[in-house]
Symmetry: C2
Subunit: 612 residues, 2 copies
Amino acid sequence: MLQTRVGKRTGISAVKIAVDMVREGLISKQEAVQRIGPEQLAQYLYPIFDTKEESKSNPLGKGLPAGPGAAAGKIALTPDKAVTMKAAGTRVVLVRQETSPDDIHGMNAAAGFLTARGGMTSHAAVVARQMGKVCVAGCDAVEVLDAQSVRIGAKVFREGDYLSINGSTGNVYEGDLPVVESEIIQVIQGKLDPKQSDKYQRFALILSWADSVRTLRVRANADVPDQAKIARGFGAEGIGLCRTEHMFFAEDRIPIMQKMILARTKEEREKFLDQLLPLQKQDFIGLYREMAGFPVTIRLLDPPLHEFLPKREDLMVEIAQLELTGRDGARLEEKRRLLARVEELHEFNPMLGLRGCRLGITMPEITRMQARAIMEAACELAKEGKKIVPEIMIPLVGMVSEMKAQKDLIREVAQETMKRYNVKLTYLVGTMIELPRAAVTADRIATEAEFFSFGTNDLTQTTFGFSRDDAAKFIDFYQTNNILDADPFAVLDREGVGALMKQAIAGGRKSRPGIKLGICGEHGGDPSSVEFCHQLGLDYVSCSPYRVAIARLAAAHAALAEAGASAAPSPRKQSVPRTKAKKTTAKKTAKPTKAKSAPKPRSRSRVTRKKR
Amino acid sequence: MLQTRVGKRTGISAVKIAVDMVREGLISKQEAVQRIGPEQLAQYLYPIFDTKEESKSNPLGKGLPAGPGAAAGKIALTPDKAVTMKAAGTRVVLVRQETSPDDIHGMNAAAGFLTARGGMTSHAAVVARQMGKVCVAGCDAVEVLDAQSVRIGAKVFREGDYLSINGSTGNVYEGDLPVVESEIIQVIQGKLDPKQSDKYQRFALILSWADSVRTLRVRANADVPDQAKIARGFGAEGIGLCRTEHMFFAEDRIPIMQKMILARTKEEREKFLDQLLPLQKQDFIGLYREMAGFPVTIRLLDPPLHEFLPKREDLMVEIAQLELTGRDGARLEEKRRLLARVEELHEFNPMLGLRGCRLGITMPEITRMQARAIMEAACELAKEGKKIVPEIMIPLVGMVSEMKAQKDLIREVAQETMKRYNVKLTYLVGTMIELPRAAVTADRIATEAEFFSFGTNDLTQTTFGFSRDDAAKFIDFYQTNNILDADPFAVLDREGVGALMKQAIAGGRKSRPGIKLGICGEHGGDPSSVEFCHQLGLDYVSCSPYRVAIARLAAAHAALAEAGASAAPSPRKQSVPRTKAKKTTAKKTAKPTKAKSAPKPRSRSRVTRKKR
């Protein structure tokens, strides 16, 4: 856990000292890189409270430091209110019992979120880290009283009152503490000239030195062009995961999405999918443009459909109320119809239900629409002379038969689209490895899949049998009671999940030597997990845009550690047992094959990278 | 799927012909065993409709044949009503939208169940097969209209109307079709003298021949003494799975259980656990007595606690209604308090939540109470001169640290209990292997666990990422569209789940040569899965009491097939790749170790078995 108030200066000054020492010829660039802990770079990125002001304030309560940085603003208790307040030019802190995908527009509008429930991998926490927003999650002191008021600690606040949250420490304060913005972010957003920021200069320098030693590529998880732009600003070499469903939660699209889901026939469903097609295509064109030739991996629709519909229990309560009052019979009828469909879609364990490729297999028209949008967007850019290599990713594959069914469908649409545009494109169809069955049958799946991307969030869920949404409470207990060393959703579990990854890599390479391998779970931005991915011989990690710099430095550390270990006979501390690593990662044997299919220069400047 | 009307006579007459041919010296006993398909034996066990009467009736609708046999009786639409009607001497068919653990008392009272929703592994279907009740599940023609009426096909029925269901074909009929009971069941229940039943004689003879060739032991899953008695009647050689939670759903216990769950402190919780202790102990004494020295594996509390509480959405609706009417403020307050606790326990994916050993680790007083009940019961019987070897099984272990924490706790309670009784007992503490992480880290887990029992229901869930409660809809689609050959919850998936089992066996034997290995998922009663378990070299399978005879015959087939394959150079059709099986099952190398710890006579008559 980050100790911002202490560590902040340490991280930034550590970089300053290292860069100065290189300039003075006291240490080498490699030594400079080695002296900076990857996590220390995070301290460059967050807005922080004015230290003097914060030290004068008493916290109202403390939650989990789930999205680092500092945010202050007026309290909004609903996502709609957050949007309205933001539109009126107000800085907003969204306070919720917990957040759900329905809240995305409000989260987007807020500077930070404070939740009463949820752990380090709750919805609020994950979205915060992805969006680069401040978040304090699972704060016991928070009690939402009604739609307009919330108790925090001993005090009751109303919507519009000022609140300050420190997502690096978990502290929550009354009032509007002054916030200082990160210079790095200002440069990336084009608000500050890089030449005017010594901090940015040193930050970029250390990273360029890191790039010259690392072999692992770093991509970002980004769903919309804005995120892609920031990812590029941090040096991401492509998008490793674009979650297409996030595009459907936008306000202008969710009604069409809902109609599509409520449709009773394939024909009706296709009608609404046709309306989504041009919107989805525009999304992809935007992403391709931002990534300027870097690879873009697009995952087909993944979440269970009920996530796009109103909540079942809300409908039940509303119907019970309408029945009792006897008013508005038409509305009652409509709600009953809606509930009937929601009941049909209701699942006891949605995480293990009708989602992922199961959607595209049972409703192939969804896959067809998405494949068409992906390929049409690429064809249109190709006509402009831009080279795009879409990587189409099938989620939640457990059987080669699923992979084949979806791939055949995509190939058919792709051929038809390219013919229509009279364009010939290279594209890949691959899969997430996020189920234990996919890992142990990877040799079979690789006969169809052209790349693997480890979805370690889901793989951790099913390997442990831990629900990300529910496990926080006992994971905390487990850590306190020495059952678990670390939260496996934050730090990749090498012994269990890692063992399955090794099997998948061995199986994948057996059937398809040189198969492209990446990781797109939250772990892609965790230094220890990045080290493990390097040891496994993955081609890239993909992480939140705001973690890209950290992953670049972590990848450099991993490469230097490996070089050091092979040079010195005494190996450094390493969590993966030596013998196992030798048996399955097969880094050395795999290298020639990889080099054959995709030559990878060891030293990559910005310029050469852009040409790729 | 069983074709009862055709197959019934075929199965029973196949046995008759085979036995006659052995008696006439035309074929050997082994050949007789080989001529009977294990599934054919099932036809001996079910009550059937009078063939002539059934052929005259037109089905109202058709569902899944989820619990074979025939049942006719008066419709009950709630479990309470089923209990009342049964108490009044009425034969009952329970008709429900779907069933849940709350319905157990009504299911117990009914001759059969008909549900509108759910697949072959829905709650109703699994309970039906375990209880040996007739079940037609997921029948689209059924629409529960209100608490007193149900539409089936075109016709509306009221509670108390007669209905007949054929769980072997899925057909549902109007009226009270005459049912003929199985002679085998009559003998086992002591209602018929075995000497008076030729059918029983031949059934027992074929099975005694099967026993003389099989090496795999067959146990039963039984939670209460009645089930254990039936299991013994079918020749079960122990209990492989006693689900202790089923004991808490009984009417006199659920209120105590609920109070225990609602308790806010450890002390309060312990008070209610103390009340459960003597009841639980009596359960175990009953089971031990029935099993007369055969091993009894008792699993500690497994399901998420909210299963014992009222449903969240029911509470929400009731509160909304109470709020609107403004009546009964005290009741409203009580319901709100209850809902608050239910909300705390609410999980998005309860299957992956706070359940299994996570309960016993976060609330060690539960494990302590259960361990005490198990050991006190065994000590009391030991004082009577009966030898009991309890096998205490920790559910849902994924990490050796979990296993160790629970084992240490149990050992402590066991030592204390034995000292108090002044008795020295042998007992084992082992675990389910039901999570992929347990399978891949089995070598570590076996340093603590003294036996492994494969919980293949849960292992299939997490390996595939399929929720048993929800997957029926797409599994059906997958089967129709050739994505899946068979429902993996019915027939063990050798390629995926099987690969993990092999890893677990190899790991377990590495750390603890001769470790006792069994399976207690629903697969233990499926012939193809039994064959695979034999090939893996497990010590036993455990299945529903009513599947024990089938498993005994299937185990004999597997042994004969193996002998045939090793005798003849051309191997017979086998789904497991030969090389893999050789590498990990290690049947031959394990045998000597096993023989040392527990000598296993190849030929076991009833008499020698009882002495064991």
